[in-house]
Point group: C2
Chain length 370, copies 2
């Protein structure tokens, strides 16, 4: 049984709209998920997230496993109650973070041995553990534990890691205890189209509630990422959601949707906000630039977010230069609103079957076309 209902499909490309049912209500796709690594989307209150249009957020299993611990979160009513967010949450499996530890991690058939980035203590996570942790967190969508592949990687290394990811995925599914939480598989395969295809086929055979593309946006050229997307998405069942993990720029979202992606997450809107880089309909704006010193205009004159409704570029520049916390808060609200509004605009364009037109105008509007 699929929890995903296809609502609209572009007649000219792979873009589509759908509705995914979760324990905490439906999500309309394509959707962007703000990242709340440590049980908070940095600098933004839950009510603000809601107001700026976020409908599902992402939590990081690796971080929450290490601190404050999944059993603590379970005892306090789960991640939703802990962080006061009642809409859906997707948790990653920790695979990517463990992979990022590099020399601090060792992968075996059994699972991942690694050292905590906080205190160096030895830890272990098996595919079954990853499910138990995510069940304790109580997320709406769980991800299988996967093994990431560096870029570049030789074919043999990529094949070996991809095969292991497939076996781990099956173990994750077998470990489910029937909580009603959804479980997504993760397609690996490095930059080898045939390995991606094999990985997709194997996961589909095992059967998941949705399918993610992992190991992309890891340093490869943009065209290669899009090529991998094109090599994979057609091999996934059309009645299941497709999630492109950890991607990306506004341009990446448009290109992903164009190729059939339904879900995205990325730290870029919040991280860049804290660094003073703001997304606008005309491109990027670096708020510390001297040209904004006396600028009374909002960040984006077409934007309806809280920040743009009440504050000038001059004020935001002052806050950033003064290293005020409020700079991170207001910039994060704006950037997340930009991302969520972009997804909403894409949903409307797909529903009206004018996504190609939307995509053309998206680029035309920007000062520096991608």
């Amino acid at each position: 049984m699929t929890r995903f209902r296809l609502l609209h499909k572009s007649s000219t490309c792979a873009a589509r709209c759908g509705e995914l049912s979760t324990l905490h209500g439906p999500i309309h796709t394509p959707v962007f998920m703000p990242v709340g690594t440590q049980a908070t989307v940095k600098g933004v209150l839950p009510e603000e997230l809601e107001a700026l249009g976020a409908r599902i957020i992402l939590g990081n299993t690796y971080h929450l496993f290490i601190r404050p611990g999944h059993e603590l979160i379970r005892s306090l009513g789960g991640l939703h109650a802990f962080m006061h967010w009642q809409r859906p949450i997707l948790t990653d499996s920790g695979g990517f973070q463990i992979f990022s530890l590099r020399e601090l991690a060792r992968i075996t058939e059994q699972g991942a041995e690694f050292r905590s980035h906080l205190d160096g203590s030895r830890l272990f996570l098996s595919p079954e553990d990853a499910i138990h942790v995510q069940e304790a967190l109580g997320s709406d969508i769980m991800m299988v534990l996967d093994t990431c592949i560096p870029y570049p990687a030789g074919r043999e290394e990529a094949a070996r890691a991809t095969a292991l990811t497939g076996r781990w995925a099956a173990r994750c599914k077998a470990a489910l205890s029937g909580t009603g939480q959804l479980l997504f598989g993760i397609v690996q395969g490095g930059m080898y189209p045939d390995l991606r295809r094999e990985s997709a086929n194997e996961l589909v055979e095992t059967g998941f509630d949705g399918y993610a593309l992992g190991g992309l946006s890891v340093g490869e050229p943009k065209e290669l990422m899009l090529e991998m997307l094109e090599a994979t998405v057609p091999h996934l069942p059309a009645d299941h959601p497709v999630y492109l993990m950890g991607v990306g720029t506004p341009e990446d979202l448009v290109e992903g949707v164009y190729r059939g992606v339904d879900m995205f997450d990325c730290v870029m809107p919040t991280r860049n906000a804290r660094n003073g880089m703001l997304f606008t309909s005309r491109g990027r704006l670096v708020i510390k630039n001297a040209r904004y010193r006396e600028d009374p205009r909002p960040v984006d004159e077409e934007c309806t977010c809280y920040t743009c409704r009440h504050f000038s570029r001059a004020y935001l520049r002052h806050l950033f230069q003064s290293r005020e916390i409020l700079a991170s808060q207001l910039n994060s609200i704006h950037n997340l609103h930009y991302y969520c509004a972009l997804m909403a605009a894409m949903r409307r364009a797909i529903a009206a079957d004018r996504f190609d037109d939307f995509r053309r105008r998206f680029y035309a509007q920007r000062e520096v076309p991608a």
Copy 2:
């Protein structure tokens, strides 16, 4: 003409309730003013300030003069529009900050020469400049430029600085250009009761919209501060507001009100919030303490603030340990709410003429009586 209307007076002590009219509406006293040094109360949005009960905030002339500059703020519609806060604002004169620069500042009859703490550039502020800057900022209540006195200080030094403060205060008043902004004088006098009395008398003769006590809480014993309060307040006109600058702890607010103080400001609630120290009806709570690791209770079970309504001590501890921005946000909301609610409770107690009873119960409720 006084803009201050006395509403209630305790029959057993100097505590009183009043209403002060300003260009941005009335303020009910006694009142606490959250500090918004750089055109933001650190970590708190204007709407949140409003919701937690703040009715007037303080801006720092010294900081805004240096960055982003008062002329820039004037050109953007004044401090209220710049920072999106439409209720009253009091601006200090910069005297205390310049005094705090110590070796970077030199005081002459003409004014204060000092170096910017940001880039070391040479700057000068006369009493007339302090008024012009505050008129450009457009605050509701301006403060005269004063010369602070270190603690301890010899009688001669204190007398000299106090006399200069008196002459500067008269020059500030003469420099007013009729904007309707209120101007408060500042009583100095170090820790010498007779100098405090002389300073008060001289300022009252010049005539101001309100009177502040400066140079207190600068390292002297608490009893000495209270003694100075008692030596000064009776010499100020009862139909004008009394403002105790830069003070203090919850206990200080209660003792100040008891002795006739109407207005307070202090960085303590926000600064301590960022350091994880929370104020509660039962005393102080250090959120990083291991005992709160699994504590599902709110910070203060009697508190109705946003933070206490939605988050556990365990969550706040996790945020603080994880160095998350949200820790500063939620802790600041709680502490400022505590301060504002404490003032509101004092206003109610005075109106019912049971302030002595309130004060007794305030101490009885605390784990560690002051």
